[in-house]
Symmetry: D2
Subunit: 459 residues, 4 copies
């Protein structure tokens, strides 16, 4: 490592830690020295497992007591001071390139890999020896990801940590568990807290979502018991659901699950920020479909009732283009409802997500067609890096689903109206098309969509 | 990859697979093509998890049906055809070295890591999705290690697999389990089968080892339930054990464990060849000591009664040096017992492990001192790469133990007499010295030994 | 059985069932005939276990669909038509009395027992073969107990059922379980529903009662999993609790359980009406004390904070006697607070449980002494059949506790003010006195009480 | 109780206990007094549960240390000194008979029941509070049953204990468990020890009986975990098994259970002598059939391959009648094989169970027909109290099975040849006939048998 760099980084760390320490009332230099000393002990792994455990616990404790600036400094020390030796890499690389094409290539490759190995991961994995160590690392990565936006020098550390978490959270290690009303209250409390799509308002609401016509499944890791990694809520119905408030109505009678032919995935929540990039969502859906098919052989249709979280945000940036798609008929009806042209301030407010129109049935009727057209366009055409702009669309379409149907006034909560004019979409998982869809989506970005939706987008 | 190399390797694979196929009665070329096609599908991960699972299961099935030559070919395809791109590495390396010392170093390091990533591990980890997938990979690595001796080109693949298994079998993921007479018979059967130190002769022998004055502990991995990774057998006694046959006597009455002050670890067996290099032995001992201390607060002494597997083999190569250490007294006694000098054929046979002397008490008495001297010298002085030559000594001394006592006629089984003249050693784990011992052993190779043993070695 | 009686009972049954059936829209005679036929099939146990199970399930179904009058009729059929044969009993009894004093006495006793055996219990125990069968019988007994008040002819059936339930619910079969925030939500929901002393207002209230300074234990029967039979809530504190609202304050910080020296049993609820007379309350307390002592060795004092449910009811009937105990000082203070003499309507309302005084601090202060005197007198002197009139007092004193302290304004909920002027009592379980207390309570009705309480009662 | 009787019994107890005590080196009178005092304390249940438990444990300890004579004395004290009061019974009985036919009958019946209640059961059930208490009582009953043969005065105690055990071991409380190679070794060891039909010779033999084409099921009681009450071993085959050595051949390859259409129950063992009369055998078979049908829908036939334990014993007493059934053809073949007439000593030895003939194929062939005729006659015609003489026949026919086929040379073990000339029988459980068979067997003693067997018996 270039000495200049180290001292630069060290002085910065000292500065930051000083700030943190000041706020926490601890002497700066002492704390900084202690952290660095502890990290070096970890990297050297002296004294066997006993000391390792004690050290790891102490270090974790230190980390947790730091404030954000302190943690940032802590992670920078690991990232910048425990990387591999550039000179050793250079040498191993030279030997490797020389060996390419000869029988020695593979041994030389192994040597290059050895040279790339850093002490960072050795430090981090020592936390695995303490109870709750895996959860500690996942949370540490969540911190790291936050800092990463503004501090690209943490990127190498993130890559190494990501690789390790990817190995640990390999789908083969995950356990699919049904969450029911017989699950521990402590777990159900976490489901309430982590639910990210449709807020769970009460234990009664929760119990309704675990009723006889519902299923809830979660993935767990053996080292993070009672910490659901991702979970999905399913309703067993007679047809495609078109309204989420109806689905969540606690007073509605339970359907007869034995007769259901449709399973609606109406909420999927990933819970661990620190596992970003470690994907297990589609594997969860696959396992859930298997389980449902075994228990309910009549099920034919597997689909979602999904939010469109980015719709209004996108519309705000593309309002002119959207308004340009409104047809004569649209304008006629809009005018009758009080929107007299492209420059109407009311229209601007509607497009920006102001939900006032929802209380006005005539206006709502008039907005239906033009807004559904905009929605279809958003889902099928708005892209970034060839992939759908909408994160939920990206997830389901990447898993092989198709855009089956748009539903008007499907989520009339404040959140639903605010983010997507209350529109929701059914993504359909058709077993016969999944493989083809995944492949053409990956290769060409092609999106599978029902004719009706496609027509809307074209207009 | 150099095209020449690939075609060379391919034609070799074709040849080998042809041989295998011939023996299995299958058309060569077809099989080879199928394997390669399957591997490419894996590496590309097309079509989502569903297909991944099916593919992995099919591939595992193919592999298991191959004979050794076929498996070797299979692994060579993965090792040689799915490595990283040397040109891409060269480019990333150049950028990296240019960035060293600048804030871009860490991002460049991440890019270099990305370039090093190969498809091999992606292929291998897909097996984790099938039931028994982890065990499959561990066994595959056992195959790989066998081939590696004669085929260094597999080394890079082994390194990648080793790194992944090290992550998966991190001690934090292992579960310590007590093995008792209430354990499943299927598990106990495996204990019988895997016991590597003192053969378990019958279920009665096994039951005795699980009696009230005994403990047996094993490490398990959550994805390999009922497959013990390593296990240790412990006897709770009043003093240091000096004879293993006495320990294993099924008819001896059980000691009163509540009053025991000494725990003797008399057998430690690692079971998975494929996990060579993934060490968890010392962590096992630590956890076991914790558990024993909690259950039996009177325990003061934790020690082993260990075999010395390499002693006779070493003595065969160093017989002259050994004989040179025999003193006047020794020769007097030996002469009286029929060994009349350094050239005695009987002496040669004794040193080579022929157990005939054990039936002759006078001879046994005469051999005691000279052979114990040789043993002490072997344990304290015979080294390779600064570490003890004896693998069991290497393990315990590396964990911080000390050589406490040598025991004459401690294992009079054919195996015991043949590998170490019936001598066994107690390694002592003294909590107050473990950390120091580990450090000085790692730093300087210093071996902690009791004065008596040290004196023997000096003579 | 006297034929007249049967036909009388039958015609009554027909009448009742007719009524029930009418309401349920079923033909009367048919239903009655079917029930009787089913019962006879049960009593004869024809056709092996298969048919037994089917029959029992059908019969249970029939029973559950009946309304109260129908169930009463159903139980009357069993009680009156399936009893033992008086003539057979007479004969066996004659032989028995003749044998008394001879070696044949014991065989004759066995014969008499055989003659007493009725078909009723055979019918009832067949329900045990169906899932939920035990719960079914417990609920059936709850029905039976309700009908018994007005229909003494059911008494013999109740005795037989009671004897069987007593055998089944023998304390040896009960499992003590800790109820925690990790218990299944379905179980916690039942705790909420069954809590009979201090209503659980919300899941937050419940979580507080399962916090780190609390314990909750329940007894379960292996055939009624997740149906708590009786449960107790415990607080771990530094001294005797004197106010239940303070105990239940969700916003109070958790005490440090490790340092607690006092365990307060502040709520005990039995849940199954059908198990009346099958007592396991004191066994529960004993097991809980054992468990607490193991986990918290510092605990010295085990006591309750108990309601006095019958106080106001008793006071209403004895108001004159109570008022007569008021002393000069009492009257002085009462007068100042607006109660000017024995005839004061306000005083009458106070004694009758009207809680208006609680909002008036001066009045509350004035009422303190006279009402505590009345409370002490109630607890120590009000009896029925030599046992304390108050059911909670009867329970704890019968288990060997002593009346330790009365607490003024200890339960200021509407219920607490209404039933016992807000007074609560600590019953103390002193291990050194329990056995003596039980014996003298059973033999002589003597109640152990602290000097302070005794003094109050005497005044 | 007649005073004379008590003192008689007491002095006998003193005598017996004196004898026991002498052998155990304890003072007689003291021990006797202590037992009696302990029993009285139990009967009075003084001092609450705490003391109960301590007392019960002490009493159990006392009992277990006594020898047979001492235990007999112990049980006699309970039987004779803690019975009901004859005078109280007489009074209650008079009131009862007076009330018969009036509405007071049922209350009077309840009073009579109360008068019959004795202290014996109170004493015995206190053992249920100690760990292993249920097992203690079951073993105590086994003792009681042994003494009962010669001491009818224990009968009343046995009846009360039997009634209580019947309540506790109600089939509704039993848990059906599959015993597999994954079951605890401690349990499997008990299976080996309790197997009463075909001895399990080794762990290999046991493993074979738990193989993929086998099933083993056991009933457990929640309070006697790991103590199988009764178990059955099942083989899944293609047709009716006709030879038990073939079934138990460890080297035979496993059949394909998925394709099996026949389940053969080849061994049923009840393990607890103390539960004699508490029947759960037929319920076990029913539950096992349910479980097998769910797992193997192809199964059509459920049958046994059963021993005929009483055949040779019966033949010894009826040899003349048997020989009389031999026909002309039979004698011709027998003469050729060395049995020249009814008086042949060899024939006498054969009938008496001497297995020498089994090694002589010609003789074996000649004996086949006549001995099978005798067997058929034994199974269908030999009765006691209208029920089959053979205990295994009584069990299966009472459960609704039919005698399907006799198998010659089906059990050539020494035991098999000695008890039934090596003949075994298949009892068939035909779901369509079970109910009818049970009823006609119970009502008229009719035995269902296949035409072939019926024909044999007729000859």
């Amino acid at each position: 490592m270039a000495p200049g760099l180290v001292s630069r980084s060290l002085s910065k760390v000292r500065e930051i830690v000083a700030g943190a320490a000041a706020r926490n009332g601890e002497p700066t230099e002492k704390q900084l020295d202690r952290i660095r000393r502890q990290l070096h002990e970890c990297a050297e792994s002296r004294g066997g497992e006993v000391s390792t455990r004690i050290r790891a616990a102490r270090l974790a404790d230190t980390y947790l007591k730091l404030d954000d600036a302190g943690r940032h400094a802590f992670l920078r020390i690991i990232a910048l001071e425990f990387g591999p030796e550039p000179k050793r890499i250079a040498k191993a690389h030279e030997a490797y390139q020389a060996a390419v094409g000869t029988p020695k290539q593979w041994d030389a490759e192994a040597q290059l890999r050895a040279a790339m190995r850093s002490s960072r991961i050795r430090i981090l994995t020592q936390f695995n020896a303490i109870p709750q160590g895996v959860k500690f690392l996942v949370d540490l990565r969540a911190d790291l990801l936050r800092f990463l936006d503004d501090d690209k020098e943490l990127k190498s550390l993130d890559r190494e940590l990501d690789a390790r978490l990817t190995a640990w959270f390999d789908v083969g290690f995950l356990e699919l568990t049904r969450v029911t009303w017989n699950s521990p209250a402590a777990l159900l409390e976490k489901i309430v807290q982590y639910e990210a799509v449709h807020e769970i308002r009460s234990w009664k609401d929760l119990k309704n979502r675990l009723g006889s016509d519902r299923r809830c499944y979660a993935f767990f890791h053996p080292r993070m018991p009672q910490e659901p990694l991702i979970f999905v809520e399913v309703a067993l119905l007679d047809d495609l659901a078109d309204n989420v408030q109806k689905l969540l109505d606690e007073n509605a009678p339970a359907a007869d699950a034995e007769r259901a032919d449709t399973a609606i995935f109406y909420s999927i929540s990933a819970t661990q920020d620190g596992l970003r990039g470690v994907s297990f969502g589609n594997f969860l859906l696959k396992r859930v479909v298997d389980d449902l098919q075994r228990d309910f052989p009549r099920l034919k249709t597997f689909a979602t009732l999904s939010p469109i979280p980015g719709l209004v945000k996108w519309a705000a940036k593309n309002s002119k283009d959207i308004v340009a798609t409104f047809g004569e008929e649209d304008w006629k009806r809009l005018a009758a409802a009080g929107i007299d042209g492209p420059e109407s301030p009311l229209l601007a407010r509607v497009l920006a997500g102001d939900p006032e129109w929802a209380g006005n049935p005539a206006l709502a009727r008039a907005l239906r067609d033009p807004l559904l057209k905009a929605t279809a366009a958003y889902l099928l055409e708005a892209k970034r890096d060839k992939l759908p702009l909408d994160p939920v669309a990206r997830f389901h379409l990447g898993n092989g689903a198709r855009v089956e149907r748009l539903n008007w006034l499907a989520d009339t909560s404040a959140k639903g109206l605010g983010q997507s004019w209350g529109v929701m979409v059914n993504y359909l998982y058709d077993p016969d098309r999944i493989v083809d869809n995944v492949e053409s989506f990956v290769d060409t970005g092609r999106i599978d969509a029902a004719a009706g939706v496609r027509r809307l987008a074209r207009r």
